[in-house]
């Protein structure tokens, strides 16, 4: 009895009793809640969606595979342009995915091709981010007639079939990597623009924006410091969906012979090569297709997952 009294007297009256289970839990929870920023919160929620979580690691794996390959480190025993006498070999232990008509190891070429395919996807998302954000920000911030005109343009651009536009523009800009990126950028910024505009219109009348205006902050500062960070979630989601459509579009263009062509090596050109040998050596189209499919599927699942993880409405529901 006396010892417990002693303990009590030592203790600072403001502090909760460290021996009480309840208070310990509470302070622990408090600390955790403070430490967990929006990124950790989103990550925690993403982890609870199995498809998105698996997709995330698959994407990370593919990106690191591409980066390693850019430094000349392929995960196989061959070089991407190393020929051998074993031409169009079926998959075996020495060539896991077989070889092509020049005896080059297909797996090595797919890994090498991932550099181009994945970077095309990511760069397109980058273009969509920059162009779409600026366009949408202007439309959403200024509103009115300018907004109507700009958005009418987006509507029209949106209703055109992507591939049709890309093929026509491809005539003009050529079929190199830069040309493809230009064509891809041209058809992929509209989603982001719409999103940013919608977010801006919605946020315009929030009190913190009014406060920022009242305190004399510049337009640029309001847009970059107050409006954009609040629109970040949907933008990230939209960009996650831009990557797979760019990968798909590139491979489709290359497949029909209006995209990249050899010596450029992407998953699309590999699949196009394989198509010609479908009757006799189906593995040549099967494996590149498998990689395209896996990458696109992963990005789509990650996008779905991020949408749920970053959407404040579903956040309330899950708690």
């Amino acid at each position: 009895m006396s010892s417990s009294l002693e303990q009590l007297s030592i203790q600072n009256p403001g502090e909760p009793d460290p021996n009480s289970d309840l208070s310990r839990d509470e302070s622990y929870a408090n600390k955790r809640r403070i430490r967990r920023g929006p990124v950790q919160e989103a990550w925690r929620r993403l982890k609870s969606i199995p498809t998105a979580y698996v997709a995330f690691w698959l994407i990370l794996f593919m990106i690191s595979m591409a980066i390693l390959s850019a430094f000349g480190i392929h995960l196989t025993a061959y070089n991407y342009d190393e020929t051998s006498l074993q031409t169009i070999a079926n998959p075996s232990w020495s060539h896991l995915m077989g070889t092509d008509e020049l005896g080059r190891d297909l797996l090595t070429r797919i890994i090498y091709g991932s550099q181009l395919s994945i970077s095309i996807g990511l760069v397109t998302a980058g273009i969509a981010l920059v162009v779409g954000t600026i366009y949408g920000a202007i439309a959403g911030y200024y509103g009115g007639t300018l907004d109507s005109i700009l958005m009418r343009g987006v509507d029209i651009a949106y209703s055109l079939p992507d591939l049709l536009v890309m093929i026509l523009v491809g005539v003009l800009v050529g079929h190199g990597t830069i040309g493809i990126l230009f064509a891809l950028g041209l058809v992929s910024w509209m989603g982001t623009a719409r999103l940013v505009r919608a977010q801006f219109l919605q946020l315009q009348h929030e009190e913190f924006i009014e406060a920022a205006r009242a305190s004399g902050q510049s337009t640029f500062w309001i847009i970059t410091k107050h409006l954009l960070p609040n629109a970040l979630g949907p933008i990230i989601v939209a960009l996650t969906f831009t990557v797979p459509s760019a990968i798909l579009a590139e491979s489709t263009l290359s497949f029909i012979g209006l995209g990249l062509s050899p010596p450029a090596c992407s998953w699309g050109t590999l699949a196009a090569d394989g198509w010609r040998a479908l009757r006799t050596h189906p593995h040549l189209i099967f494996f590149p297709s498998l990689f395209i499919f896996t990458a696109v599927l992963s990005f789509n699942f990650l996008g779905d997952g991020l949408r749920d993880a970053l959407d404040p409405r579903t956040r309330v529901k899950s708690k």
Partner: protein
């Protein structure tokens, strides 16, 4: 409603004019022409060929010449398919593509909409997750992969279906399935979202609480109301089908619009590129007009004035 149609037709004229001008500029300002590959041609012959197709004139003269012909409904001559006019090629190719497109659309509607409903009704069950996985896979898989897979299984392995050309109804099956893969997944996802939204509505709860069975509620009250947004995607769906036709017609060697468009671009066959593009634009305009009409017919709340 006739006012609406009339207005849309009037609108279509400037739109088609812009599309024609833009495409014209796009394909003509590039260096290189349709006869570049024929290097063996003597310059005099090349000059004669160019004169025949008016390619030796300045671009603006060519433009006025083309527009004048276009106004009279003449789409020009193909450079590569000798002695065939673009009108002639398109008259043969368009029915093929429309047949293919409708076959694909039919499959997409018959599979996609029930699949979406099923997923929505069995929300958050294995059935739903499976449907969602399948549809995500459906939008993630490139058309050429579906095509290659179908050709391999049914044409090369089982040998039960023809894999090229466009001759009998049996020839339609594989291309139509290939074309339908994307739109099916798209429609299923859309239907699911739409049905889920309608199922939350008060009048659905009322119907249920009045003792109507779950099945009857869904068929009579939910489905009808959730098909509205599904109808409105006919526009984007047409775009998807056009895009799909490029790949499908290329893979199955079908003499349709998509295939001619691709070969025209590869060959720099100017008039044929323009002809196909204009027909695609027209198809899109028609599809979007139909969507607006469907709006007014299906939803009495929406009456587009006109």
């Amino acid at each position: 409603m006739f006012g609406l149609i009339a207005r849309r037709i009037l609108w279509a004229i400037p739109v088609m004019f812009i599309v024609a001008s833009a495409t014209f500029l796009l394909v003509r300002i590039v260096p290189g022409g349709p006869f570049d590959e024929d290097k063996s041609l003597p310059p005099e012959v090349l000059q004669n060929i160019k004169a025949k197709y008016h390619l030796d004139r300045p671009v603006h003269e060519q433009y006025f010449f083309y527009m004048d012909r276009l106004a009279h409904g003449d789409l020009g001559i193909s450079y590569k398919y000798v002695h065939r006019t673009v009108n002639d090629i398109l008259a043969n190719a368009l029915p093929v593509s429309i047949e293919l497109g409708f076959a694909g659309l039919l499959i997409a509607i018959c599979v996609g909409i029930p699949l979406g409903c099923l997923a929505a009704v069995r929300r958050a069950t294995t059935v739903d997750y499976l449907c969602m996985f399948l549809t995500t896979a459906g939008i993630s898989v490139p058309g050429f992969v579906v095509g290659a897979l179908l050709i391999f299984v049914f044409g090369i392995w089982l040998r039960i279906l023809p894999v090229a050309l466009w001759e009998s109804p049996r020839h339609v099956l594989l291309p139509a399935l290939t074309l339908a893969a994307g739109p099916t997944a798209y429609l299923a996802r859309l239907t699911r979202a739409s049905v889920l939204e309608v199922m939350e509505k008060d009048w659905v709860r009322t119907a249920r609480s009045k003792g109507l069975s779950a099945q009857a509620t869904i068929i009579k009250h939910v489905l009808r109301n959730s098909l509205m947004p599904v109808v409105t995607v006919l526009g984007p769906l047409t775009a998807i089908l056009i895009t799909g036709s490029f790949i499908v017609e290329y893979m199955y060697a079908i003499p349709g619009m998509g295939r001619f468009f691709i070969t025209a671009v590869t060959n720099r066959d100017y008039d044929l590129i323009m002809g196909t593009t204009l027909v695609f634009a027209l198809l899109l305009i028609i599809a979007n007009t139909l969507v607006d009409l469907a709006y007014t017919v299906l939803d009495p709340k929406v009456r587009i004035e006109g």
